[in-house]
């Protein structure tokens, strides 16, 4: 570079610094040109990188996130989760009344938002029976605390009026906004838009915390879920229970001046005479499942925003109050499945190696014309649809299939002793060995083609037997090909889904089939994500190894 510059008589500044044509120092100019080139290269890659990040990497990240995410429990049962924190799960006794009250309120809200079955389903993964318990209780909640409602209404019919509650709890500015909205709607009908979202008065919230909290939740729930207005709907009986608890808890009403202050004071005076109501007893009456301490322990254990529960389940473990333990012997399936996936993949990799090595050797040592012809026999299966090959094996391996027919015809087996080669591990191994064989042959072939045949001849001329020449000279040189092929086949086979699903029956399925089952049938997405994350982790380690041995830039196709 400097030669040509001086040769053209490039200008040199006083300090002896070489200058480019535009008068800048050459070094700077060169750095700038390189920077520009780097930017250009990066801009060419950037669109694809963005595309892959959105279409592929983000979904993988989403899956990883879902494997630990547990938002539904703290979000649907916030009151219960808060109350449970004060309960000592090791005491062995049932949680206190407050926990049951909180659970009843949370479930009532979840039922309105149609979430109670979903949260029940979520907890059911950890403790069988929660789902049906929640569903059953959800239907009875509207009757819990009924006696209290009757008592309040009996004291003053105003308690039965929706307007009383709105005026009592609603924030003054919300009530103004609501009134303006009501006027607008009277004129414009549906064009007035939705009713302003209910807000509770901070003053009353300080005075009657439970009532304000739960009534506000009630009002918003019926606004957003049913499109109703709190001005027209009387609150749930459980809201009366909240008021009862606030009042009997000794709320100091003496200085309260808000709307309906007298009504409130009268109620506070009458409350000690009301029939005692125990939400805990009512819930136990609905279903004695609520009396199961272990269930409450499970809910408490899975009340965090994030959970390792799915990963534990994916490894056949569970949380107990005394720490992490293995699940019962007869319910362990995932470790066995991972183990089987691993074993079958190793078996398939070995089978492809045993079958692929001689073929690759033959291809690499035949004259190019013949080798190309034979290579087509390897490439055709490679290009043929996976489902075509799987259906071929399904047809061949059946009990009434071609292979069994042939064996019966030869007389090797009798007609009533046809071999069972499908819907078991044999089927999976045979079909997958066939499907993955090209992925072993091609890398082996490309490595073997670079081994000069003269090496073997040299070894033999020095007195080596055929075997020694192969084992001491040729084989070590082909090891990179073996490594590349074996890792590729292994990576592909541990994630296989279609072939085991179609020819594997129950004993030949892989962990992938379980992942698919949890996504589309049991709908336990968190567990599917955790199983997938473990599998992904294994594959990434192998990928990294592959990159180390072969280098991803050296992958060749066809």
């Amino acid at each position: 570079m400097s030669d040509t510059t001086t040769g053209q008589g490039g200008p040199v500044s006083a300090g002896g610094v070489m200058l480019a044509a535009d008068g800048r120092p050459l070094k700077q100019s060169l750095a700038r040109a390189q920077r520009r080139q780097r930017l250009r290269a990066f801009l060419l890659v950037a669109p694809l990188l963005a595309f892959v990040l959105i279409a592929f990497v983000a979904p993988i990240a989403d899956m990883l996130f879902r494997s630990v995410e547990n938002e539904i429990v703290p979000e649907t049962l916030p009151r219960t989760v808060a109350e449970l924190r004060r309960w000592d799960e090791r005491s062995g006794s049932l949680p206190p009344q407050e926990v049951f009250v909180a659970m009843a309120r949370d479930l009532q809200l979840a039922e309105t938002r149609k979430l109670h079955t979903r949260v029940g389903q979520r907890l059911n993964y950890e403790y069988t029976g929660v789902s049906s318990l929640f569903r059953k209780t959800g239907r009875r909640l509207s009757r819990m605390g009924r006696e209290l409602k009757q008592a309040f209404v009996g004291l003053d019919p105003a308690w039965g009026e929706p307007a009383t509650w709105v005026e009592l709890i609603g924030a003054p500015d919300w009530r103004e906004a609501q009134a303006a909205w009501a006027a607008r709607r009277a004129r414009a009908g549906a064009d007035a838009g939705p009713e302003p979202l209910f807000r509770a008065d901070p003053a009353i919230a300080a005075l009657l915390p439970q009532t304000a909290d739960f009534y506000a939740a009630f009002a918003r729930a019926i606004q957003t879920e049913d499109g109703d207005s709190p001005t027209e709907e009387a609150p749930w009986p459980l809201v009366y229970d909240a008021l009862y608890r606030d009042l009997s808890g000794g709320a100091d009403l003496s200085r309260h001046t808000g709307p309906h202050a007298d009504l409130l004071r009268a109620a506070a005076a009458a409350v000690p005479g009301f029939p005692p109501v125990s939400i805990r007893d009512e819930m136990l009456k609905v279903d004695d499942g609520w009396g199961d301490v272990a269930m409450w322990q499970t809910i408490k254990a899975y009340s965090g925003r994030f959970t390792n529960g799915y990963f534990l389940a994916a490894l056949d473990m569970k949380k107990t109050p005394d720490g992490i333990a293995m699940v019962e012997e007869n319910r362990r399936i995932y470790l066995m499945l991972f183990w089987r996936t691993l074993l079958l993949s190793v078996g398939i990799t070995l089978a492809t190696l045993v079958l692929g090595y001689p073929v690759a050797w033959l291809l690499a040592n035949l004259p190019a014309r013949h080798a190309n012809l034979l290579l087509i026999l390897v490439l055709l299966p490679f290009w043929t649809s996976l489902l075509v090959r799987t259906s071929a094996w399904k047809v061949l391996l059946q009990q009434q299939g071609v292979i069994n027919d042939l064996l019966v015809w030869i007389g090797l087996i009798s007609d009533d002793a046809r071999l069972v080669m499908i819907n078991n591990q044999t089927g999976t191994i045979i079909a997958m060995t066939h499907i993955l064989l090209p992925f072993m042959v091609l890398p082996l072939y490309s490595v073997m083609k670079t081994i000069p045949p003269s090496y073997l001849r040299a070894a033999k001329s020095l007195g080596a037997t055929n075997w020694t020449a192969f084992w001491r000279v040729y084989f070590p040189l082909s090891v990179p090909g073996i490594g590349a092929g074996a890792i590729l086949v292994f990576i592909l086979s541990i994630g296989y889904y279609i072939t085991p699903e179609l020819v594997g029956g129950t004993s030949g399925i892989f962990i992938s089939n379980r992942i698919a089952y949890h996504i589309s049938i049991s709908l336990n997405w968190g567990l599917a994500a955790a199983l997938g994350s473990i599998l992904l982790f294994a594959v990434l380690i192998l990928y990294w190894t592959y990159d180390r041995i072969v280098g991803i830039d050296n992958v060749k196709l066809g």
Partner: protein, 283 residues
């Protein structure tokens, strides 16, 4: 590889024995694919050769499974879906992939290795994991069960193949050609289309064929990302194999084998042309 005249009998046996073994392995590779072709002409609804077929009785053969494939609306809809999804996905992967491959083969590219690893990963990550992730993420952003969701997913899966084939072609590309074009006054776009593109075209086309076959054969991701409206040919075959196994599948399989043969021939011709263009002797 030919046998020398002085070979011992044992060496002779090994020589021919080895070829027989290799022949059997080739048979194992190719026979399952070949055997379904005659079976697809079966006049009965059986999955094995009937005595009539073995006796080469013309009445034992028929085109009824092909008629079913071309007449059945389910199969035709699946064929149509496959044909509308795969080319668009291919176009996306080839468009983005070729540009990126050119950038990646530039020695000035920063973080080359890492970016390459990310771009190749859709080929390495097990399909079931990609499918699960895409199902979760695409349902969040409203792409699950849509045509574009499937196209995007398939384009992502095809990208590694385009990157690999195009970067392999670019290894033999002489950069002084673009500089020569630039010195003769061509702008970067003219240079790309008139000089670089014709030379790397074989690599681009074979990358496109790989991307096409990836999408055309793909079933796991479309099972999860697609809905009934995006049912492709492999999906229909998957259902057929799992639930009501019908011999029409063999007719479809035969058609797909013909597609594979056609693609194989094209890729092979392209590879030779590319090697000739780059001054290598075709092997």
């Amino acid at each position: 590889m030919s046998l020398p005249a002085y070979a011992t009998p044992l060496q002779r046996i090994w020589h021919y024995g080895f070829r027989v073994i290799c022949g059997l392995i080739f048979f194992f590779l190719i026979a399952p694919i070949i055997v379904i072709i005659p079976l697809s002409f079966n006049a009965e609804d059986f999955f094995t050769f009937t005595p009539g077929m073995l006796a080469l009785d013309p009445d034992a053969y028929s085109l009824k499974h092909y008629r079913d494939f071309f007449g059945n609306p389910d199969w035709q809809q699946a064929l149509r879906n496959s044909i509308t999804i795969a080319p668009v996905a291919t176009l996306l992967s080839v468009g983005f992939g070729t540009l990126a491959a050119i950038g990646l083969s530039d020695s000035n590219m920063p973080f080359r290795r890492t970016i390459m690893a990310v771009l190749i990963s859709p080929m390495i990550v097990p399909l079931i994991i990609s499918a699960a992730g895409m199902y979760f993420f695409y349902s969040r952003i409203g792409l699950q069960g849509t045509y574009w969701g499937v196209v995007l997913a398939h384009a992502a899966l095809g990208i590694p193949f385009v990157i690999i084939t195009v970067t392999a072609t670019l290894v033999g590309f002489d950069r002084s050609l673009t500089r020569a074009a630039a010195s003769l006054g061509a702008g970067p776009i003219t240079t790309f289309f008139r000089v670089q593109m014709p030379l790397i075209l074989p690599g681009v086309i074979s990358g496109a064929l790989f991307a096409f076959i990836t999408s055309f054969d793909e079933v796991v991701v479309v099972l999860f990302v697609g809905s009934a409206g995006q049912k492709t040919l492999p999906w229909q075959m998957f259902i057929g194999l799992r639930e009501q196994i019908s011999p029409t599948i063999l007719a479809v399989a035969t058609v797909l084998v013909c597609v594979a043969i056609a693609l194989l021939v094209v890729v092979e011709l392209l590879r030779r042309r590319s090697e000739r263009l780059r001054g290598m002797s075709p092997s």
